[in-house]
């Protein structure tokens, strides 16, 4: 069971969190301008690497905040936690 360091609450057990998939998937600014293939890429295509993975987690049983972590998908080691968006820094 993972031990996840919530940037707001500190280290908590995995069971307090929910997973949000690959980080850095940005919703296209103008979806209507995209081809079907481009839209499908946004909707469904993911990197799914074996190794370092930047991903979203939500402290759903705690502060309910979303944040990012970098985790190795093979060793499950967590290299670090990051807040989303610059303005939340600090």
């Amino acid at each position: 069971m993972l031990l996840i360091d919530c940037p707001w609450c500190g280290e908590r057990a995995e069971t307090e969190f929910s997973y949000g998939g690959e980080a850095g998937i940005t919703r296209p600014k103008d979806p209507a301008a995209l081809s079907d293939a481009e839209w499908a890429d946004y909707l469904f295509m993911r990197n799914n690497p074996k190794g370092a993975h930047r991903e979203l987690w939500n402290h759903s049983q705690g502060c309910r905040r979303w944040f990012g972590i970098e985790r190795d998908t093979l060793t499950y080691r967590i290299a670090g936690t990051f807040r989303l968006h610059g303005k939340d820094e600090g």
Binding site: M1, G20, A32, D36, W39, L43, S60, W66, T75
Partner: protein
């Protein structure tokens, strides 16, 4: 009751003042407090305890702990029975009943032991090669196989005991309270670290329990007691006995199963440790000689343990067979216990004279350069065959001599228990010097110590344990000093001679069986066969021969098996590797893993504030999400159909009342509330006037309908949303995720009000009169309070929000009230409504009423593959803005002809109520696969309309109104139906607008 013939007159850690009685296979025996079932059986001279899995060979106790493969017994009977209990790990208690799981008609005369005669036919993987012809006979073959397999019997009633989970955190978790573990715990505890020390035995001490070895100038037992006493003095040290550490999971999460006694049978400790010291010791391994499974062949260390811990000497006339030094102690222990040791057979040509002298000094003949090649006796050891050996594994053993004995103590060396280290992701490496797998690098915050780390001597174990404890504490930031090591006797060690398969008088394929996995009857010849047939990877060998698949999980024989595999392949053991060590270390009960989370606590029920009223009104309940909702309110003599008919008619004619509190309720406010909701919802949110309500659909980014509800504008920057009951949590999380991850620039605050507010829906033509009668602070008239609007008001003296929304198609009011007042308001409405024959209704009537109006239920009339356009709701999709899911609606598959669309269905005969879920077809009797054009999503008898109605999704359905198709009713029966628009009742919406 039999006499305890093998019990020694003194010694042992048993309490002779507390005799216990127990029963095994119908016979009564005696033992003492402190015995295990195995030690008590041995004390009573019970040799034969079970039969093996495949060949039904007679089997006795071989080990004294988790490695025992044979003494797997059924304990007790009825609800409290326990299958597959390892007698070596069962504490004896008064009245214990145990029985063997195999052997018919009796354990001594087992009819199935005929299998043994045909042992060569039942070679590895034989079942893959037969039972195929004729094909249809497989069922019979298999039924026979199933009857033959299996060990114990599952209880036939629910578990009378309880289990609990407990979370714990510590700096240093020490696994195993033997010499290394005790030193590690002591070092860590003295530094101030929070320590948990867990051990599977009933008392700490590990291999030292009952030992008379001097430690620090005093007997081992006294040293153990002193260390444990000191540990218990620390506030932050917890010593757990009867506690098996069975799982080492990610991020230093460790699971421990503790035996508790009483009706709280077991406790699961879920420990998050900053550092872990693994000091769980080593398992002695057997040697693979012919008939090495005969009852009376035992591990040398087990023989010693029975003598010292339990004062039981398992034989009178013993032979010891070893390839290493450790079994010399066993020979001494046997002699000390009064047994005759006929010979100590040591495969090694030369051994330190100090060791040899000590054994010979007590009159034991030592045969260096000899091996035991075979065992005589069937139900019990009668003697052994011993041959001279020069170290050549390919040699044939001849010129052998027979030695009569009733006990053969065997040591093939030791395997460090690397299980938890490996579970933690750590590497293991073959140690060429010590001929065993030892822990290599750790991948988590753990280190190994003691014999589990390949340290054999007591002095090394103590030092290794101390160093590990100090290092662990320091890693946690404690300033740990090194405790002084107690002085112990040190001896020269003669290295072990690698010996696995012992040469026999015949070649390994035709000699009598040399067992590796005793429980599964896997022999040396099976491993050789597997290799011959191409199953060469260690995992293939394991799976093909079942090596290591017994309930001891290979603790006894796996490494020997790997070595035999390596020998057969002509490869070094290191290159063969081991199979993966997976949790649990030893089997753990389902009950303790489940803990308290069963029965009522499996998933706690959510109840509305009005729930108790529904119960007292006799409601039948339905599970909706986590909620219990009233399904219908039957009166005496009513079934579902008649109750629902009455509830529907009462609502349409006068007033029905529904507890709608389970709807999800979300308050949305903030500077950017409008901008946010515009992006979420397909309709124009900003155009809504304050105080107005709108139906709101929520789409996933894939364009499919995800949830729905009513949105109300409470202010310029404030909205109130409702969601489906089951979707409430998901919708809130979904909205929050968009805000936080995608649009952090928007200032919007979301608050769930689902539990704070209760919702009572009053529907029917008299509903306005009812509220007026109760005293309402606002004008409820159609003009002042029109349909799809909301007002704050006082009702019956309570502050409420009133919504003129309708899910029934009738004039209706939804009343939001603080949950603290909900029951009172409900009661007030019921009392005041008596003159209107107000009728409470449940979800079933709600469904019928809404279906008559063609309102969909997300999740029933939709299934994740339905767009708003499919539902006929394209008018809700704003053209001049983007919203979630909009782009997906333009994909080719979403705009193609022939998508399934929402329609109504009427049975042609005007009577048949269709089955919900029934598939719709055009051509009855067509060949399989019959093309399906849709399915019935909702179907009811409408007593209001006087005929059944149904909603369905039908390919191209909206352009097919009036056409006739067929619904499959199962078992070949078909109903003819007509496609109609989905609104059956009051299509002009006059009643709800009233």
């Amino acid at each position: 009751m039999a006499r305890q013939t093998n019990r020694l007159g003194s010694g042992g850690r048993i309490d002779r003042s507390r005799p216990l009685r127990f029963r095994f296979n119908g016979r009564d025996y005696g033992g003492y407090e402190g015995d295990t079932l195995a030690s008590a059986l041995l004390a009573n001279g019970v040799r034969l305890v079970n039969r093996s899995f495949k060949l039904h060979r007679p089997r006795g106790i071989i080990g004294c702990g988790a490695e025992e493969p044979n003494a797997i017994l059924q304990l007790g009977s009825g609800a409290g029975t326990l299958p597959n209990q390892r007698a070596t790990q069962v504490s004896l208690y008064d009245g214990l009943e145990a029985r063997s799981t195999r052997g018919w008609p009796s354990l001594r005369f087992d009819a199935s032991s005929v299998n043994d005669l045909f042992g060569r036919v039942f070679s590895a993987g034989f079942y893959y090669k037969t039972f195929m012809f004729p094909q249809r006979w497989w069922d019979y073959y298999e039924a026979f196989i199933r009857r033959s397999a299996g060990l114990g019997v599952a209880p036939d009633r629910p578990d009378p005991d309880r289990y609990e989970h407990r979370n714990a955190h510590c700096d240093v978790l020490v696994v195993g309270a033997g010499p290394a573990g005790l030193m590690a715990a002591l070092a860590a505890a003295r530094s101030g670290a929070r320590v948990i020390l867990a051990d599977q035995q009933r008392e700490p001490g590990g291999s030292l329990v009952g030992s008379d070895l001097p430690i620090g100038g005093r007997p081992a037992d006294e040293w153990i007691a002193a260390v444990v006493d000191e540990l218990r003095e620390f506030d932050d040290v917890r010593v757990l006995t009867h506690s098996i550490v069975f799982g080492y999971h990610d991020h230093n999460f460790v699971t421990i199963a503790q035996e508790c006694g009483g009706d709280m049978r077991e406790r699961l400790w879920r420990v998050r440790a900053r550092q872990v010291v693994l000091a769980q010791g080593a398992f002695e391994r057997p040697l693979a000689f012919c008939n090495n499974d005969r009852p009376g062949v035992m591990l040398a260390s087990a023989v010693s343990a029975y003598i010292k811990r339990y004062a039981v000497c398992p034989g009178r006339r013993a032979v010891v067979f070893t390839n290493n030094d450790s079994a010399y102690q066993c020979a001494l222990d046997l002699a000390h216990a009064g047994a005759t040791v006929g010979a100590l057979v040591d495969s090694r040509g030369s051994v330190s004279s100090e060791l040899t002298d000590r054994v010979e000094a007590v009159g034991i003949p030592v045969l260096h350069g000899h091996i035991v090649t075979d065992v005589r006796g069937r139900l019990s050891v009668g003697g052994v065959r011993v041959a001279r050996w020069n170290g050549d594994t390919d040699a044939r053993a001849d010129n052998s001599i027979d030695i009569r004995c009733d006990l053969l103590a065997v040591s093939g060396g030791w395997n460090p228990a690397v299980h938890l280290h490996s579970q933690a992701g750590g590497a293991i490496a073959w140690d060429e010097r010590r001929h065993c797998f030892v822990p290599a690098e750790s991948r988590q915050a753990n280190r190994s110590a003691g014999s589990g780390n390949g340290r054999w001597s007591l002095a090394d174990c103590l030092r290794d344990g101390r160093d590990a404890g100090v290092a662990a504490a320091r890693s946690c930031g404690f300033d740990a000093a090194e405790p002084e090591l107690p002085v112990v006797e040190e001896r020269d060690e003669t290295p072990l001679q690698p010996l696995w398969r012992v040469p026999a008088a015949r070649d390994p394929d035709s000699c009598p069986k040399q067992f590796l996995d005793f429980q599964n009857d896997t022999c040396v010849a099976d491993v050789r066969l597997a290799v011959r047939e191409g199953y060469r990877n260690v995992e293939h060998v394991k799976r093909y021969t079942a090596l290591g698949f017994g309930t001891d999980q290979g603790k006894l024989g796996n490494i020997t098996g790997m070595a035999v595999l390596a020998e057969t392949l002509g490869a070094p053991v290191a290159s063969v590797g081991t199979t993966t060590f997976r949790p649990p270390f030893t089997p753990v009960s389902f009950g303790v893993c489940a803990g308290e989370g069963v029965g009522e606590l499996y998933d706690p029920v959510r109840k509305t504030a009005i729930h108790e009223w529904h119960v007292s009104a006799g409601a039948a309940f339905e599970n909706v999400g986590q909620w219990h909702r009233p399904w219908y309110f039957p009166r005496a003599g009513e079934d579902l159909n008649s109750a629902v008919a009455r509830e529907c008619l009462a609502t349409r004619r006068s007033i029905g009342i529904l507890d709608a509190s389970t709807l999800g309720k979300i308050d949305v406010q903030g500077r950017d509330a409008v901008a946010f909701l515009e992006r979420i919802y397909p309709h124009k949110v900003g155009r809504m006037a304050v105080g107005r309500c709108a139906y709101g659909l929520m789409l996933g980014e894939d364009g499919m309908v995800m949830d729905d509800g009513v949105m109300t504008r409470l202010g310029d920057r404030r909205y109130y949303l409702t969601t489906t009951t089951g979707g409430a949590a998901r919708v809130l999380a979904w909205l929050e995720s968009w805000l936080q991850t995608e649009w952090p620039d928007l200032e919007v605050y979301l608050t769930s009000l689902t539990d704070q507010l209760s919702t009572i829906s009053v529907a029917g033509p008299n509903s306005r009169r009812l509220l007026e009668k109760l005293g309402c602070s606002i004008d409820l008239s159609r003009e002042q309070f029109p349909f799809m609007s909301m007002r704050q008001a006082d009702l019956a003296g309570l502050p409420v929000q009133l919504f003129r929304v309708s899910f029934s198609g009738e004039l209706a009011f939804e009343i939001n009230v603080d949950s603290a007042h909900a029951l009172a308001l409900w009661q007030t409405l019921m009392d005041a409504g008596r003159e209107f024959e107000i009728t409470p209704y449940g979800t079933e009537t709600m469904h019928v009423l809404r279906a008559e109006k063609g309102f969909v239920i997300v999740g029933q009339d939709t299934d994740g593959s339905v767009t708003p356009i499919d539902l006929g709701l394209e008018r809700m999709l704003a053209k001049d803005k983007d919203f979630l899911g909009k782009r997906s609606l333009a994909r080719p598959d979403c705009v193609r002809e022939g998508r399934k669309q929402l329609v109504g269905l009427l049975s042609a005969d005007g009577r048949t109520v269709l089955r919900e879920g029934a598939q719709l077809i055009e051509e009855p009797g067509a060949a399989h696969p019959v093309p399906m054009i849709g399915h019935v999503t909702s179907s009811y008898m409408s007593d209001c309309l006087g005929h059944p109605i149904a909603l369905a999704l039908v390919a191209g359905g909206r352009s097919r109104h009036g056409e006739t198709i067929h619904a499959s009713l199962g078992a070949g029966s078909i109903a003819t139906v007509t496609i109609v628009p989905p609104v059956f009742y009051d299509p002009q919406n006059e009643r709800q607008h009233d």
